[in-house]
Amino acid sequence: MKHLLTTEGLSAAEATAVLDTADTLKQTLLGREVRKLPTLRGRTVLTMFYENSTRTRVSFEIAGKWMSADVVNVSASGSSVGKGESLRDTVLTLRAAGADCVIARHPASGAAHRLAEWLGSAGTSVVNAGDGTHEHPTQALLDAATLRERLGSLDGRRIGIVGDVLHSRVARSNVHLLATLGAEVVLIAPPTLLPYGATNWPVRVSYTLDAELPTLDAVMMLRVQAERMHGGFFPSAREYSINYGLSEARAALLPEHAVVLHPGPMLRGMEIASAVADSAQAAITEQVRNGVHVRMAVLYHLLAGEEGAA
């Protein structure tokens, strides 16, 4: 792998290799006094975030540091972006400054692809840490890692993705990755929050949450992304919450072994009830913990091997 831009097109073998590496890293670091590996000593990783983020940026930074890479954070505010520098000039500047890997989040869908084009196939790697409403591949990988841990395997499992699919890069990345790994994906959302192309995805679509819950092995609740909503997608927050929120009563419909996921940040009381988010079925803090190991694995696969070896 040179870049990690999407989970669409990622083969089952590649995805499994990253997930296995993440598992091994987790085992290796478990209970150790020194949680640092020398593997990426002398490599420089830059995070370039044009959108707010807590867990993604922090876990990439921790992942890089635990692998002994030098991690530098660039944010849009406080950098030359504020003076009007273009994305292309910014990334070429970062490469010139010595970046071996650029981890980018940008509000425009396709931004990571453009970065990868500008940087070419030699030298600096690009990791997409979320581009608009397109993809967020490391989130899908950490969700898959968490599900593998809880359910054993993804093969033949039924995973429901619930809520604002339209604006969710997490949903897109998960649809492709989970399907590649053999899971059956059900999108559950009001018709206004489903994208036009969803019928071409390897998924089934449903509009009623209650009917689906009893058959799901895992349910992934999405945040309602008010900041991307310009127009009326549902009558009121209260109505959305009543129809598509994971209340305690609704969580009781899930099979006992089912896992509740949320990519965060959560809007408690909106798409997920506080008691459900804190229940034993929820794997939300495990998702964050696995995020560090998955991102270490991604950096390992992108940066540790021979230069030019695919």
Binding site: D20, T24, Q27, T28, R32, E33, V34, H301, E306
Partner: protein, 194 residues
């Protein structure tokens, strides 16, 4: 096992160094040497921990542990130590998959760690293992047991227990086959001189 004629080169340019029976005898001898050198059955002896380097070193460590238990009555803890993340040649090869690391409960602090590997060659794997050990704790001492020492060291590293010393040409391959991994036991030298 058809070819028992040790040292005879066959058509593929292979010569057999150790047969399955030789491997069993060699491991048994190494077990005796570990018991003797560490005196692990003495009441005040340091606690010995065996750590095998995957893949075949891990299998060898388990065999060595079983023989040590059989001969001394003491069953030292046994684990695995993957050194991939500590290698100095990562950037010269395609990305390697990681293997399992499992340090026995009780850790390695103040223990006598015996690293176990199949072949000792350049010494770089052992260098990586020493670095990896440092991140897991501070052993009282570290020793090294290898089934085959084939020479060509590139670092000042030597083994404390050697199953067989084999002078080889650099271009040759030493192939260790173990039942747990390969379905049968044996050691071959392949390729190199015509």
């Amino acid at each position: 096992m058809a070819s028992r004629s040790r040292g005879a080169a066959d058509a593929a340019g292979e010569r057999e160094l150790l047969t399955a029976a030789d491997v069993a005898r060699t491991v048994a001898r190494m077990a005796h040497q570990v018991i003797e050198k560490t005196s692990l059955d003495a009441p005040d002896a340091a606690q010995v921990v065996l750590l095998g380097i995957p893949t075949r070193g891990a299998s060898l460590a388990v065999r060595l542990r079983d023989r040590i238990t059989e001969f001394s009555g003491v069953r030292p803890p046994c684990g695995t130590l993957d050194v991939t993340l500590y290698r100095d040649d990562l950037r010269r090869r395609p990305t390697r998959p990681l293997e399992e690391t499992s340090v026995p409960d009780g850790g390695i602090d103040d223990r006598l760690v015996v690293l176990v590997d199949d072949v000792l060659f350049s010494g770089r794997t052992i260098r990586a293992a020493l670095d990896a050990l440092r991140d897991h704790g501070r052993p009282r001492a570290v020793q090294l047991a290898v089934l085959v020492d084939r020479g060509h060291r590139e670092l000042p590293i030597r083994a404390d227990y050697v199953g067989k010393n084999v002078p080889t040409a650099r271009a040759e391959d030493v192939v260790v086959r173990l039942d747990e991994v390969d379905g049968s036991d044996g050691v071959l030298v392949r390729g190199g001189k015509a």
